[in-house]
């Protein structure tokens, strides 16, 4: 029982796509190594431990050596099916990266409150919740987040450009709290 329990807890398997990641990481490390001379400077009359290039050099060499060993261990292990399906899964995340960055760009224009409520509702619909309840909860969540973070905690998020068009009585409130 003990062997089973501990193995279940701590064993680490290779996953599909492991070798693709290993190759990409190693290539990145080798690229950084090739740039070491250009991207760091050797300062004259400065001892080795104070040279600006010391720590990038140590880090990149370790990345290359460990990256190579990691790739080797992946390459020498049995091939696991589903490699490109897994890579496809990674690539699918870029869809949400795009939504996130659009949201980031929209906030200074529409304001935090409106953009957050719209973003929450859009994502809720996108992931498959179509009911009125789900949409209402998403909008409410966006509203509460805005009130808590911008209204109460006063985190630094710029006011929306559209707030300038609001009537005078509401504008000051919106600029400060929404």
């Amino acid at each position: 029982m003990i062997a089973k329990t501990l193995q279940d807890m701590f064993k680490r398997y290779r996953r599909p796509g492991d070798v693709v990641f290993a190759v990409l990481f190693l290539a990145f490390a080798v690229f950084l190594l090739s740039q070491l001379g250009d991207q760091t400077k050797v300062v004259k009359r400065t001892k080795w431990f104070a040279q600006p290039g010391l720590w990038p050099t140590i880090a990149i060499w370790c990345m290359v050596v460990f990256g190579f060993l990691h790739w080797l261990s992946s390459a020498l292990s049995d091939r696991i099916s589903g490699r490109w399906t897994e890579v496809g899964f990674w690539v699918r995340s870029f869809e949400y990266v795009a939504y996130f960055l659009i949201y980031v760009l929209v906030v200074p224009q529409l304001g935090y409150l409106l953009s957050t409520m719209l973003f929450a509702v859009f994502l809720t619909l996108r992931v498959g919740f179509r009911g009125a309840n789900a949409i209402g909860i998403a909008a409410l969540f966006g509203f509460v987040v805005t009130i808590v973070f911008r209204g109460f905690l006063q985190v630094k998020i710029p006011a929306g450009a559209v707030y300038e068009y609001l009537p005078d009585s509401v504008r000051a409130f919106a600029l400060t709290y929404l």
Binding site: M9, F10, L32, F49, F66, H70, V127
Partner: protein, 510 residues
């Protein structure tokens, strides 16, 4: 006595009390939600805490850190789904007890064991304080450099079976920390003539990307799942008394948790592993482990809840974080120019005492909350995972954007989100990157100042603590090489009847 009163007055500020309540109760809820976890919550809230006093910000984050594992035990016991990764072992004995109709007993035991572990660690921290205050001033630049180096080595070696991956990711963290304008000679490092890289890559942006945004992407892309409706009935207070019957297991497990919590890079998993093994080997009923053993449950929960308190020891005494969550907390200290380390114990002992008392109060609040609100929590955790993904992504935006209103930061965080998603899918560790960034910065600064007074290499270790740390590093490396050698020798032995655990998925090397 004056210091103690000063500590109490710090703790009694209304902002601290509110932060403690929100942190501890919020932490329980976050811990109980499978797929969120303390790291995600702390990463999101971190920038918001910069506006608070350090004690308020730290109390809030400590509340989440210390209480999330309490909450994580609930779904682990009742629905066989650990709320946080460190509650995985709790499912082994907690869920079989639920299946036998003893869910209330299992929860009660888990709460009391967690409380015992949490309070035990804080008492150890308090007892050790005078020793820390005595020893910490002897840590100069070279000792802190060696301690940070030891931390990096331990973090890498702690990832058994993944040492190569942990090594390359820790090195990547050190590299990330070195990007930008170098602070002494003012030369640019790996900026590729891009102005946005000149100020370097912010630790918070990386943390939010790797922990929060990656988790949001993962939840949004993976199959939707919602914990089933469940209810617990029966006397939930009984475990408080039952714990007395397994006090030996609770005490030893908590002690292991404290020791492992102090050692960088080891943390909850190793302490659970050792505690569980100890409890099983010394039990009168070892066959019941994995099938609803109260001792197994207590060992697991007491050990993992002892770690947060103990993890504060190297952070407060030396300014060296042992894992990702304390690394995040370190940035709260830095933002407020409170430098943890030897001077903290000399100059701000009241602050340290206030933190200790906050930790004890946190455990009391959480225990009382859980004893009366478990069924309410079970309703809250029924959020579908994809909706959780929506929530985390929206909250992550606040964390990144409020730092300096930079779209570039958001893009970098999103990039690290994809990177974190890949690491999580491949079961590769994220923590070495964060510790590489933090400890890499410490090593660079401290080596530079330490070497200014060193003439020969032996001068570097001519002080007792430096010599001990150096000896430890050498010993750990020798022991690891020895273990690898014996493992390799064993592999060479022909064992025709043995099958791998899963021949389709052989373990990684290293």
């Amino acid at each position: 006595m004056e210091t103690l009163l000063s500590g109490i007055s710090i703790l009694l500020q209304w902002q601290v009390i509110v932060a403690l309540l929100i942190g501890s109760i919020g932490g329980v809820i976050i811990g109980a939600l499978p797929g969120v976890g303390a790291a995600v919550a702390i990463a999101i809230l971190l920038p918001a805490t910069f506006a608070f006093e350090p004690i308020v910000g730290l109390t809030l984050l400590l509340g989440i850190y210390g209480s999330s594992m309490y909450g994580g035990a609930i779904p682990a016991i009742l629905i066989n789904t650990p709320g946080t990764a460190v509650n995985a072992l709790t499912t082994y004995d907690g869920y079989p007890m639920t299946k036998r109709g003893q869910g209330h007993r299992a929860l009660s035991l888990a709460y009391s064991a967690s409380f015992f572990g949490g309070v035990f660690a804080i008492i150890c921290l308090m007892v050790l304080s005078p020793v820390l205050a005595l020893v910490a001033p002897h840590f100069g630049s070279r000792e802190i450099f060696l301690a940070a180096l030891l931390g990096i080595i331990l973090v890498v070696l702690a990832h058994r079976g993944q040492i190569f991956a942990a090594g390359m990711l820790a090195a990547f963290g050190i590299f990330l920390n070195s990007v930008g304008l170098e602070p002494v000679k003012y030369t640019r490092r790996f900026t590729f003539d891009q102005s946005w890289l000149a100020s370097g890559i912010d630790l918070i942006v990386v943390v939010l990307g790797l922990f929060a945004i990656s988790q949001a992407f993962l939840l949004l892309l993976e199959k939707n799942h919602a914990p089933g409706d469940t209810h617990v009935s029966g006397n939930i207070f009984a475990g408080l008394k039952e714990l007395l019957g397994v006090k030996r297991v609770a005490t030893v497990s908590s002690s292991i948790g404290v020791f492992m919590g102090m050692v960088p890079g080891t943390g909850e998993f190793t302490s659970q592993f050792l505690s569980y093994t100890y409890a099983q080997k010394t039990s009168k009923n070892p066959e019941k482990f994995g099938d609803g053993s109260p001792e197994g449950l207590v060992a697991s929960e007491a050990a993992n809840n002892a770690v947060p308190g103990a993890a504060m020891i190297p952070l407060l005494a030396l300014g060296i974080p042992g894992e990702a969550l304390t690394a995040m907390m370190l940035s709260v200290f830095y933002v407020h120019n409170v430098i943890p380390g030897p001077q903290l114990f000399e100059n701000q002992m009241d602050f340290v005492l206030a933190l200790y008392m906050a930790l004890i109060l946190l455990n009391v609040i959480v225990l009382v909350f859980l004893l009366f609100s478990t069924n309410l929590l079970l309703k809250i955790i029924q959020i579908p995972t994809r909706f959780l993904g929506v929530m985390i992504l929206i909250l992550a935006f606040v964390g990144v954007y409020s730092l300096r209103n930079s779209i570039t930061d958001c893009a970098i965080a999103a990039g690290f989100g994809v990177f974190g998603l890949i690491l999580k899918r491949l079961d590769l560790p994220i923590v070495p990157i964060i510790l590489g960034m933090v400890l890499g910065g410490i090593m660079e600064t401290k080596l530079r100042s330490a070497m200014a007074r060193v003439k020969t290499p032996l001068d570097f270790i001519d002080r007792p603590i430096a010599a001990i740390l150096f000896g430890l590093i050498v010993l750990i490396l020798i022991l690891h090489c020895r273990t690898l050698y014996f493992e390799f020798k064993n592999k060479l032995r022909p064992e025709p009847t043995m099958q791998p655990v899963d021949s389709d998925n052989p373990n990684q090397q290293g």
